[in-house]
């Protein structure tokens, strides 16, 4: 057993710490999440045209997401393990349903209408895929043998391909990386990782063959945004102007001229980082990245402290996928990655991704706060 850190001692002895501990909430993670949510409201107010309604709607979503997080933090980790297979299978069935309904409806479909509210199965699968892979690998001695690796890869490929077919390349990438992260943490040989990496690079032309026209256009635009300045390249050009013009100190809160004058598209959703960078400059950007780093570090720490293989693998994957999220969005906005529809986690306007992310953090908190109550 690891000895308690000073922080955990404090957590155990202070009154507030005791209260949160009973809530199964991890204080450092919780505090950073609250901080970043406040930051999100501040920037949304500016990016959304100073519309209080936008803020209220988003606050409601965040509150709901935090509620779900605390709820999941109460569930004991072995329960997640027990439900892994069922939840994963359910997710696959729902993805198939979406695909079939989409076929009937002729066109891209990501939603499943369930009575009054809409449900996006691809969001659920973002969490259940690493759960499934972790469940499967935890049964065996690690690192995984080729046969297990093959089965695990198939389990990752299934939801990835189903989502890619929707077509939602961004989410498919995130799901694939969440599964790959589990394999990485399970101790997959470095040589193997390098080998697969080069193989995938070599396969890019084949992938290109299977891409939709608009997806190809996005990649081409990324490689040369100036080629289509009226259409697809427009986003990247305008976003770079917004960020670059922010400079070191930024133009100040509500000082963004690019989003104000409607130059920057999707300024409160996928491209919100550009507004942030314009208003708060390099200092703001670095601060935001540090905040993200704190969250990721805490999550990786929680993973390292986890007692059983399943919890470790799942926690590690959730932590790393969160980073992929951040990296893909910011990379796209600052023009180092192609434009795929991935929001800036916890900051972009919109409900679905926040709920999924907070569910992930809830699982992490559960893993961290239950192990002391129930020794391995």
């Amino acid at each position: 057993m690891q000895s308690e850190t000073r922080h955990e001692q404090f957590e155990r002895h202070s009154f507030f710490g005791n209260f949160l501990r009973k809530l199964h909430v991890d204080i450092p993670l919780f505090v950073t999440l609250v901080l970043i949510s406040i930051l999100s409201f501040v920037i949304l107010y500016s990016a959304g045209g100073q519309d209080l309604d936008v803020l209220i709607r988003q606050a409601t979503r965040v509150a709901l997401a935090f509620g779900l997080m605390i709820l999941l933090a109460h569930v004991e980790p072995y329960q997640f393990k027990r439900w892994s297979v069922i939840l994963f299978s359910l997710g696959i069935v729902l993805l198939l349903a979406v695909l079939i309904l989409g076929e009937i409806g002729k066109g891209a479909q990501r939603w499943l209408e369930l009575g009054a509210f809409r449900f996006q199965p691809s969001e659920m699968i973002k969490i259940t895929t690493p759960m499934m892979i972790a469940w499967y690998l935890a049964e065996y001695a690690l690192p995984p043998k080729p046969k297990q690796l093959l089965i695990a890869s198939a389990l990752i490929a299934l939801p990835t391909l189903l989502i890619a077919k929707q077509p939602d390349l961004g989410t498919a990438l995130l799901v694939a990386s969440s599964g790959a992260a589990v394999l990485f943490f399970s101790g997959l040989s470095w040589w193997f990782i390098v080998g697969i990496g080069s193989l995938l690079t070599a396969l890019t032309p084949i992938l290109w063959h299977f891409m939709h026209d608009y997806q190809r256009a996005r990649v081409l635009t990324f490689l040369n945004p100036e080629a289509d300045p009226l259409g697809r390249g427009y986003h990247i050009i305008q976003s770079k102007i917004a960020i670059g013009s922010g400079g070191v100190y930024g133009k100040g809160w509500l000082g963004s001229t690019q989003s104000e004058l409607d130059f920057l598209p999707e300024s409160s959703t996928d491209f919100i980082f550009a507004v942030f960078a314009e208003e708060f400059g390099l200092f703001g950007c670095v601060s935001l990245l540090v905040l993200y780093l704190l969250i990721i570090s805490r999550c990786l720490f929680i993973a390292s402290q986890a007692n059983d293989t399943y919890s470790r693998l799942l926690a590690g994957s959730l932590a790393f996928t969160f980073f992929v999220y951040v990296f893909v969005n910011i990379g796209m906005v600052i023009g180092v990655l192609p434009v795929v529809g991935v929001p800036l986690p916890l900051v972009s306007y919109g409900g679905t991704s926040i709920v999924t992310l907070c569910a992930g953090f809830g699982i992490l908190m559960s893993i961290h706060t239950h192990k002391k109550l129930k020794p391995y």
Binding site: A141, K145, G231, I241, G244, S245, T309, F327, G335
Partner: protein, 614 residues
């Protein structure tokens, strides 16, 4: 060396895992540093550059709208052009209080509310610095009125724009179609980058079908502007590529002849080049003037068009569904010969009615008292119904369906226009599926004379006639002959379909009979056969609009106009070496021979003359 796979070594696994966590953390930090480096590059190194670009939004990407391609007829006469017109345009970015400005302009120039709404919709779609038209095609008076107050309106100006104009108005409206303002639904489907500066899009006809080619490719210019948004410098210009010019197969003079000949009636005329399928005439009367749709038709005028009893917006040639009546007889007769159901010379006695065995119902002939003993030639010439009741009964619906389908009945002709109707060629399966009923023998009889469920469009009828004239070579009607861009000339959509295997002697028999329709003393269209130097092969048709009671007699003069029979005529000429195939439908025209055939006669005459003149 054998190793134990099943046991987990927890301490080793733990060590590996912790190592991986550390590795993951390093990757995260490394990639984050990468992001920071890029940010430093953008925000410190590139700051000055980007700040200049962002400053007062000094650099704007201005779309350069391509000029829309022209549309010509086969002889180079202009069917659609772009004319200079003056429009009142606003640049929203330069107007401090847009609502007040709009109200003032509305009062000054008496602008209807719909135009304000249209303007608002278009404005929301575009960048704030793009000049957006409020009034198109301003009159001299409007221009003068505004010129006086112009200094008081910053951001409002008179611009000259190219506006689509259709010189032949209602004559070609159903072929050429029109362009109109982009609506909200189209905004979602049109490619944004191509239409960023465009206000209009093809809605109907050729304008819609060939939208991509006619529109051209949008160019752009990066324009540097000062604080007052006046352009001070332009760089990086990519010129637009003008839209392609289209040359149609239509002969607009011939179209005019057909349209004028239809005067007083609603109806359609479609004429095809027999060899290629190129459409020479595509006329639907009444037409409408497409020009008001371009500048924004006002509500009342649109309502008037919509609710007009004659339905001018309805493309009868493309979408009108009519019972073909006796024009179907040559095809049924050919089926009879091809399937060896009857010989050309064999006669059938016509007492004026036909009865199925053991059924009291009398299927009447149009001629009271009957035609007597008739051969196939006479049956076609005089359009004897009883002969065809009998033939249909021998052939059966399955054979008729199979044979007529080959001529394109019951399917789209494939003409390059949107919204074509399929028509209806009934069959046993169709009736079972659609009505859940079995096929009755009586229905076979009336199908044999082109009545019953059978429905055809004029363009289908023309196509089938051309196919017959070709001896079975199927043609696909097409309207665009040439697509001409600055760099190349593409030929249009001429396609060659398959060939129906027909015995040439049978086709010759049918042709001869159809020549008799026009040139024989007993022919139902003999009035157009006089004083011409060539032979026309034709067939009249009279399609019942409603059923007459068993013993009642149809009297054209006592019957309500709207319930009068439709008059039809199909023909090709010259019979020996066909150049033109034509189908005429005259709604409520009465007899095919007296009303529809003369229209076809005029068109054929003029076309053959024009060919001789060349």
């Amino acid at each position: 060396m054998p190793r134990i796979y099943t046991l987990k070594n927890n301490s080793v696994e733990n060590q590996v895992f912790v190592n991986r966590i550390i590795a993951a953390f390093c990757i995260v930090v490394f990639l984050t540093i990468g992001l920071v480096v890029r940010l430093v590059y953008l925000q410190i190194v590139g700051h000055e550059h980007y700040a200049t670009l962002a400053k007062e939004n000094s650099v704007k990407i201005q779309p350069l709208v391509p000029t829309r391609g022209m549309i010509y007829d086969r002889n180079g006469k202009i069917l659609a052009e772009n004319t200079q017109s003056f429009s009142l345009e606003l640049i929203p970015e330069q107007i401090s209080d847009l609502d007040t400005t709009l109200t003032q302009l509305q009062q000054l120039l008496n602008i209807p509310n719909e135009k304000i709404d249209q303007f608002q919709k278009q404005r929301k779609r575009q960048k704030r610095f793009i000049s957006t038209p409020l009034l198109l095609s301003m009159t001299d008076e409007e221009i003068a009125k505004f010129a006086v107050v112009r200094p008081y309106f910053t951001g409002v100006d008179i611009q000259s724009r190219l506006v689509r104009h259709y010189p032949y108005t209602d004559l070609a409206a159903h072929v050429v179609g029109y362009v109109s303002r982009i609506n909200e639904a189209e905004m979602k489907t049109l490619p944004m980058s191509e239409y960023r500066g465009s206000s209009h899009v093809g809605k109907l006809g050729i304008e819609s079908f060939y939208e991509t080619q006619l529109h051209g490719k949008t160019g752009y210019a990066e324009i540097e502007t000062n604080v007052q948004s006046r352009a001070i410098n332009t760089f990086n210009t990519v010129p637009p590529a003008v839209g392609a010019n289209l040359y149609l197969t239509i002969d607009i003079d011939l179209q005019k002849t057909a349209y004028d000949a239809l005067e007083g009636y609603n109806g359609a005329v479609v004429a095809l080049d027999v060899q290629t399928g190129g459409v020479l005439v595509f006329s639907s009367r009444p037409g409408f003037d497409p020009n008001p749709f371009v500048i924004g038709i006002d509500y009342d005028a649109y309502q008037a068009l919509q609710s007009s009893e004659n339905q001018p917006l309805y493309n009868r040639a493309l979408r009108g569904l009519y019972p073909p009546g006796s024009t179907m007889k040559p095809f049924v007769a050919l089926a009879g010969l091809e399937y060896n159901a009857i010989s050309f010379e064999q006669t059938h006695y016509c007492p004026g009615y036909y009865q199925l065995p053991n059924v009291p119902h009398k299927y009447r002939d149009w001629k009271h008292g009957g035609h007597g003993a008739v051969s196939m030639s006479e049956a076609i010439t005089e359009s004897c119904d009883v002969y065809f009741y009998s033939l249909a009964s021998v052939l059966g619906i399955d054979n008729m369906h199979q044979f007529l389908q080959q001529f394109g009945f019951g399917e789209k002709s494939g003409i390059d226009l949107v919204g074509e109707k399929m028509g209806l060629l009934p069959s046993r399966e169709w009736k079972q599926q659609q009505k859940n009923q079995t096929w009755y023998p009586g229905e076979t009889l009336i199908t044999g004379i082109g009545q019953g469920y059978l429905q055809v469009t004029p363009v289908q009828l023309a196509r089938a006639t051309a196919t017959l004239a070709n001896g079975g070579k199927i043609v696909t009607p097409f309207l665009v002959d040439k697509i001409v861009t600055a760099t190349e000339t593409q030929s249009g959509s001429e396609t060659h379909g398959k060939i129906i295997p027909l015995k040439s002697i049978n086709v010759q028999h049918i042709t001869d009979a159809m020549v008799n329709v026009v040139h024989d003393a007993h022919g139902t269209a003999k009035n157009i056969g006089k004083n011409i130097t060539y032979h026309i092969a034709g067939k009249t048709g009279t399609a019942q609009v409603f059923n007459i009671k068993q013993e009642a007699k149809y009297n054209e003069n006592t019957i309500d106009f709207k319930l009068r029979d439709h008059a039809l005529f199909i023909a090709f000429a010259p019979a020996e070496n066909p150049k033109i195939a034509i189908a005429v439908v005259v709604e409520n025209g009465g007899h095919g021979g007296s009303v529809a055939a003369p229209i076809a006669g005029k068109v054929i005459e003029q076309y053959l003359e024009s060919l001789n003149a060349k």
